[in-house]
């Protein structure tokens, strides 16, 4: 029920915040989406869309940073003498 899918904002239009609408591209499939809760979204941004509403603008810098850290996970741990002394996993 609470699934939300990331897509890229194509355009946003409208003046009345309650009726702010736009189009979002999901890997080539475009859907009309309400931007009532994310009026700050700009074309090119990624938004999480749930049941026809853009709920949040995805922080791409934060996303990249997290992924970069995760891709290095294990290497740092393996190189650290402190963790080398840890007991092996059960």
């Amino acid at each position: 029920m609470c699934l939300a899918v990331p897509g890229q904002v194509v355009e946003v239009e409208g003046d009345d915040p309650a009726f702010l609408r736009g189009r979002v591209d999901f890997s080539g499939v475009r859907r009309e989406v309400s931007f009532a809760f994310t009026p700050e979204a700009q074309p090119g941004d990624y938004v999480l869309v749930h049941a026809g509403f853009a709920l949040t603008v995805v922080d791409q810098e934060e996303a990249l940073l997290t992924l970069e850290e995760l891709r290095r996970l294990g290497e740092a741990v393996e190189a650290s003498p402190e963790t080398a002394e840890e007991a092996p996993a059960p």
């Binding site: 029920m1 609470c2 699934l3 309400s34 999480l48 026809g52 934060e62």
Partner: protein, 368 residues
């Protein structure tokens, strides 16, 4: 798909799996709250990537599963009225109410087969448009969901008001996550030691309430996303806290969740809805755990409009969904699982909903 594929990277998942194995020195029991997370865990076989002592139990975060049988009965009764176009998300259609099929339509799908005008919508705003296009009919929308879905339903009511639609109403079945977590962690039977909090609920609500829950019950809570990398990282963060004897709030899903959530969405909810006590199917009445329309918007309440309120009913005894939703039993521990109870002939809602724990085990996890 960008921002999806990266979080399904099997190399990163393997690194996280190794990290959890290195970190865990003893058994721990974690609960993921959201049914979407349960689905992703079972579908992607993540439990097999955890060391034997790390157990995941599945929480009550499936709105379809916890919608009381009497509200399904009320929905079926409303749908049967000739003037009504009943609109709903697709996953509510097969959920049985309290009646056996011999007594008449049990689920909305049965009502549709019997001639009712039941339509599946993708968004609550689609239901508003159906109302605008059909001034001679009454359009009822089944407003089911958690905090993630409530803002859209609030906006549908705001739009109906702005468009002066006299033929739009909603049947409200809204529930809130924190009161259910509070009830769960406060139960003497509770064996959950850490929680993965529902990422998309927190895009709206922020994380402050979960920080309070973490402090109150002294359990680590990690706001977590939905892809395999998200879930494995959330588990690793929770296990690190458990091993270090910590209990605080962390945010794994920082690309989507800000501490203060989405103020515009919450303002829409506050304008239209107020907090109320709600019964949860399988769990019973939980104080302040749901939403109802405020007095100023009560004319959009389908129960008020049609005078067809839900009547309390007794639930079927064979289904142990209450124990499943509290994480006290796994679907395979139910004697009816995959025998008397299947997605085609469900005894309870967790077998119907695509996010119900029973359906997830039935579709993906039967051999695990």
């Amino acid at each position: 798909m960008k921002l999806v594929d990266e979080y399904r990277d099997s190399d990163v998942v393997a690194r996280l799996s190794a990290g959890i194995r290195r970190t865990a020195t003893r058994p721990w029991t974690l609960m993921e709250i959201c049914g979407g997370q349960t689905h992703s865990i079972v579908k992607n076989g993540l439990e097999a990537l955890l060391p034997p002592g790390i157990e995941l139990v599945h929480g009550p975060g499936c709105p379809v599963c916890v919608t009381p049988a009497e509200l399904i009965d009320a929905a079926v009764a409303l749908a049967a009225r000739p003037e009504v176009i009943f609109t709903s998300y697709g996953d509510m259609l097969r959920v049985p109410g309290s009646r056996g099929r011999a007594e008449g339509p049990a689920a909305l799908l049965d009502a549709r087969a019997a001639g009712a005008d039941v339509r599946v919508v993708y968004s609550a705003l689609d239901a508003v448009q159906i109302a605008a296009a059909n001034p001679g009919r009454q359009v009822v929308f089944f407003a089911v969901g958690f905090e993630t879905t409530a803002p859209g339903h609030a906006l549908a009511v705001v739009q109906a008001e702005a468009l002066e639609l006299e033929n739009f109403s909603i049947l409200v079945a809204h529930v809130l996550v924190p009161p259910a977590i509070d009830a769960l962690l406060g139960s003497p039977e509770c064996r959950v030691q850490a929680l993965l909090a529902p990422g998309h609920v927190c895009t709206i609500e922020g994380s402050a309430e979960y920080a309070r829950l973490s402090a109150r019950w002294k359990v680590p809570i990690v706001v977590t996303g939905f892809e395999p990398v998200d879930l494995m990282e959330g588990i690793l963060m929770a296990v690190r806290q458990l091993e270090a004897g910590q209990a605080r709030l962390e945010n794994q899903y920082s690309r989507a969740v800000r501490a203060d959530g989405n103020a515009a969405a919450r303002a829409a909810v506050d304008r239209v809805f107020e907090v109320t006590d709600r019964p949860w199917r399988g769990l019973g009445l939980i104080a302040n755990s749901g939403l109802a329309l405020r007095e100023a918007y009560r004319r959009f309440d389908a129960v008020a409009r049609f005078g067809a309120g839900p009547e309390p009913v007794q639930d079927d005894g064979a289904c142990i969904s209450g124990l499943i939703l509290q994480g006290l039993k796994k679907p395979r521990e139910c004697p009816a699982f995959a025998t008397l109870c299947t997605p085609e002939q469900p005894l309870g809602a967790p077998m119907v909903s695509s996010e119900g724990a029973c359906a997830a085990y039935y579709h993906y996890g039967r051999k695990v």
